[in-house]
């Protein structure tokens, strides 16, 4: 296991691994300003770590040694997809805000549906965070110039 981690670290390189960790922490802790619910924070943190780890290890293992052009093309696809789960993740948190719900009747309706469907919204937010991090970390990993040159 430790050997595998070291191998992947070598494939990606120290700088890009550092960028991945920074993105993970940023995406994981930024929403902590929007919600103070410990349960929801737990879901965000848990799914972010799982999504980030999968993004790092799966992308590195699958794309090591492939052509750089193909890696960059896939990176662009990952970056394009990244915004959708991020929007779901942040959007759901914003919808929960009472001050937003008071202003907009549609938001109020969606908020009420979500609140009465608990704990489902925890999973929506969690999966949103997890997928967003999977694609973001995947994209950062694919940007690493060391990855195409590596031979797993």
């Amino acid at each position: 296991m430790w050997d595998y981690i070291k191998k992947v670290f070598k494939l990606v390189g120290a700088i890009y691994t550092f960028l991945n960790v920074a993105s993970l922490l940023g995406i994981m802790f930024f929403p902590f300003k929007i919600t103070t619910s410990y349960t929801l924070r737990g879901f965000i943190a848990g799914f972010s770590i799982i999504g980030g780890m999968l993004g790092y290890f799966l992308t590195a293992s699958s794309w090591a040694g492939k052509e750089r052009a193909r890696c960059l093309h896939r990176r662009n696809i990952y970056l394009a997809i990244f915004w959708f789960p991020l929007l779901i993740f942040i959007g759901t948190l914003v919808i929960f805000r009472p001050e937003v719900a008071i202003k907009y009747p549609l938001v109020r309706t969606i908020r009420e549906i979500l609140l009465t469907a608990m704990p489902l919204p925890n999973f929506i937010v969690g999966f949103g965070a997890g997928f967003a991090l999977y694609f973001l970390i995947g994209a950062i990993t694919l940007s690493s110039p060391e990855l195409p040159e590596s031979h797993p």
Binding site: T39, L40, F96, R97, P98, R111, I113, L115
Partner: protein, 287 residues
Amino acid sequence: MKVRRIVLLLLLVSCVTILIGGGAEKEITVDESSFGQLECEIIESMPAGLTNQGGYVFNYQCGKGKDCRSYGLRNVPGTVLTPVLWKDKQETFLDVNLPECPASSSCPWIEVIKISTRSIIIGETTLSYGINKDEYKDEPDAYRKKLEQETKLSPFITIIRGTVADAQKKPIEIAIRVSSYVGGVKPYRLTYEIAIVGKSEAFQILRPGIVPAEPSVLGLIWEAPASKPFFEYLYQMGIKELSAKVGKIVVDITAREIEVEESKLLIVVQGTKRIAATTAPAYRPKD
């Protein structure tokens, strides 16, 4: 002379027995004094509180009367659906979703009354609300029951009444009283009363873990007395629901040994959704 000695000896033995008995654990007796009390006349109350965090604004109020306590919550005008949980370490006072209250309208209260002879103390409670009912937290002082060993088998009466949001987010009125009494001594006679005490929807009486047959129907789960004899009695009597027509259900069972379930809940469900809950203690047969 011999008779006098025997009488003196008997007197001495009875004195020793009384002395030893007084030092040992007090005998539990059935308390008949509070049997008639089914309401709570508030004689003292804590100052009404107003939460104001994260855009959630609602009132909370706590009062006490003779052998009883009351807890109330209501949204203020111009606020949205608010999930709230008010509890202390031993009891859940109210676990509800306060319905949306449009601006310039009067917002109804949801109130819980707890009647028992337990001593009442003032102490810190936890009022948490928002997403998952743990987004924001206040710690208001409220009347709480004192943690002490009961020496009397006094009745437990819990009333929950007022307006809460149902599973479709619409406000509905509920008014339920559950009571648990004990009579006799070995065998004990356990009496449970479940009654509608005001304007209220109808309820199916359910076992814990069971959901109503139809998702729109309200179900009532009283966890504390939920024993096999309790449900056998309901089944034999053909009792299934509590409504305006059948306003009161009385269950009578006997038991050699009994215990008190103090922390179990009285839960109102709609489909699989819990729409209101509060701690409702009761006596039950000891397994």
